[in-house]
């Protein structure tokens, strides 16, 4: 074959495959959203699921997912920031640093079901927290922490060196430079990454089946006492999240409209992740403008 013909064929093949991926995404999103959209209504979003009859909603599940996400972020963000700052600014190249880097790598590539099993063994049984929101949040911490460390480290590494040097020249302590010179510059990247990781946590199911549980008690949304068992804010109650609900409905759903419920819930889940994605882009840019002098510079 002439090189020129081979070149043409290869180009066509590459372009076709690339466009095929775009088509797969459009097909996927189109299918999920169009199939699920008819089923989404205010009633579906707020009412409790039905076991055997049709017409159940996903209200508690949606709330659980969001609440669990908030709990997880409250735990992981400060911890991830600390370890990430250490890796970016303090760690000297050496055996210990390599070891920590390896740990972050291994932790972030553990299958989520292993994280769930570990949670079942240690948090649910040994610490005796039972199937509860707090167990789920701690398991998700294992899942999310390595991500946060990476995000923070990368964000700090992109800060120009001169900023640090300027801080030293002013006689500031290293910690002060980290917190009040480097951190604001790195913050937009950190926030963008955090929101994106939140999207992953929001859709996580395997790690939660064995920790947050697969059932939700009856919730009384007018009861805001965090210690009462029927209160939605009680962190020690079992909580089925939206993603776990989709799995359960698909594998052992008894309601006659199980397929529609799964479609509706999937659409809600995907829409939320899409919103997270858009928010990450928007917020990152907005905060960058707010915190840095980029407006005055231009």
């Amino acid at each position: 074959m002439k090189p020129r013909t081979a070149d043409k064929i290869a180009t066509v093949v590459i372009v076709t495959f690339a466009l095929l991926i775009v088509a797969v995404l459009i097909g996927l999103l189109g299918y999920i959203l169009i199939r699920g959209f008819n089923h989404i209504s205010w009633d579906f979003l707020t009412s409790a699921p039905q076991k055997i009859r049709a017409g159940g909603g996903v209200g508690p599940q949606l709330f659980n997912s969001l609440f669990l996400l908030v709990l997880t972020l409250i735990i992981t963000v400060p911890l991830g920031l600390g370890a990430g700052i250490f890796m970016a600014e303090y760690a000297r190249p050496g055996k210990l640093t390599n070891f920590i880097r390896l740990i972050v790598e291994v932790l972030s590539s553990f299958p989520s079901i292993i994280v769930g099993l570990f949670g079942l063994l240690l948090i649910v049984n040994t610490f005796n927290l039972g199937f509860s929101l707090i167990s789920g949040a701690l398991a998700l911490t294992v899942f999310n922490l390595p991500l946060m460390v990476r995000i923070t480290e990368q964000a700090f590494r992109t800060v120009p060196k001169q900023q640090k040097e300027a801080g030293f020249a002013l006689g500031l302590s290293k910690w002060k430079i980290v917190t009040s010179v480097l951190f604001p510059v790195a913050l937009p990247t950190i926030i963008t990454g955090t929101i994106l990781s939140a999207g992953r946590v929001f859709g996580e199911a395997a790690a939660l089946m064995f920790t947050a549980g697969m059932s939700s008690p009856r919730l009384d949304f007018s009861n805001w006492n965090p210690l009462s068992p029927s209160s939605p804010l009680n962190p020690f109650r079992p909580a089925e999240t939206l993603a776990v609900h989709i799995w359960k409905v698909n594998s052992e759903g008894l309601a006659p409209d199980a397929v529609q419920i799964a479609a509706g819930a999937s659409a809600v889940l995907v829409l939320t992740v899409l919103i997270f994605n858009l928010a990450a882009r928007y917020f990152g840019r907005f905060i960058y403008k707010k915190l840095t002098a980029s407006k005055r510079m231009s």
Binding site: A18, G82, L117, S173, G203, E204, L274
Partner: protein, 300 residues
């Protein structure tokens, strides 16, 4: 006169630094504690059956019969181990060519709008939760396979197809990064010699970036090997070594997902599930090791 405040400022300086260091050390220590306790707990549960003599390691790894409720129970996990490897390899075989083409499209063919088009597509694909992939697989791929090909639709082929879409973004983004970081002059000299674009891609670009692209493939396989729910929904969960791609099978993750809630803690059956979790964990270590080796090769 001025000595005093300087001294004070120095003290504050030290205290600040100290607090910062203590806090960071705590965070890093936590990471170490988490990983050590994870390995310890999963391993201690995973080897319980072998230590007590309930099940032999060889029987567990090579036995093909999984019937924990039979009168003489047998705990052969080979059907699940082979199932896991089969779907992972198939998914990598389907996804790798597609991903490499997508990466080439973004970096070599139309670097401008190609990247603008594919970057968000890749990000969105990687953001879709795995249960949603399972749901779509169950309601689109399974009926499609059932209508066009022999078998029930659920099975190895459906699992591999769902997984291949799930790992597309991983491979594509790693491959695209590798291609984008290739020195420009390599390509330019190839073009200067009169090579066509495809000649440049196939003889210069792909061989140079091969280790980096393989890193992406291994990362994708690691993800596929550990994926639980999406596979469980479409693979059929039959405890046999599959004889064809359209037969039901099981993976390690799908058996653990289904079995863990229905067995009592500490029973031999439950411990056998933990042994499978240990296998998963060891495979993760192997994948990480492979990635590290490939990255080292990439540096030279």
């Amino acid at each position: 006169m001025r000595g005093q405040p300087t001294n004070k400022r120095l003290e504050k300086h030290h205290i600040e630094n100290l607090i910062g260091r203590i806090y960071m050390s705590f965070c890093v220590l936590l990471l170490i504690v988490i990983i050590i306790s994870m390995v310890y707990f999963v391993a201690s549960k995973g080897i319980a059956n072998f230590v007590s003599g309930e099940v032999k390691i060889s029987e567990f790894l090579l036995g093909t019969r999984w019937s924990p409720e039979a009168e003489t129970p047998s705990y052969g996990a080979l059907p699940f181990i082979s199932g896991s490897f089969l779907v992972t390899l198939l998914a990598a075989l389907i996804a790798s060519p597609l991903s490499i083409c997508a990466a080439l499209f973004m970096t070599e063919i139309v670097p401008g709008w190609g990247k603008k088009l594919l970057q968000p597509v890749i990000e969105l694909l990687s953001g879709i939760p795995s249960v949603v992939y399972g749901f779509v697989g169950l309601s689109v791929i399974v009926p499609f396979l059932r209508d066009t090909l022999p078998g029930q639709g659920i099975g190895v082929a459906a699992g591999a197809l769902v997984l291949s879409v799930m790992i597309l973004p991983t491979i594509t983004s790693v491959a695209a990064d590798a291609l984008a970081s290739l020195p420009q002059n390599l390509k330019e000299s190839s073009f200067a010699l009169g090579a066509t674009r495809w000649q440049t891609i196939s003889r210069v670009i792909l061989p140079t970036t091969f280790p980096a692209i393989m890193t992406g493939v291994v990362l994708g396989m690691a993800r596929a090997f550990g994926e639980a729910l999406a596979v469980q929904m479409v693979i059929g969960n039959a405890p046999f070594v599959p004889h064809s791609l359209f037969e039901s099978a099981s993976t390690l993750t799908s058996v653990i997902t289904l079995g863990m809630g229905n067995t009592t803690m500490g029973s031999p059956q439950n411990n056998a599930l933990w042994s499978m979790a240990l296998v998963l964990m060891l495979m993760t270590f192997i994948f990480v090791l492979l990635v590290r080796m490939l990255e080292r090769r990439n540096k030279i």
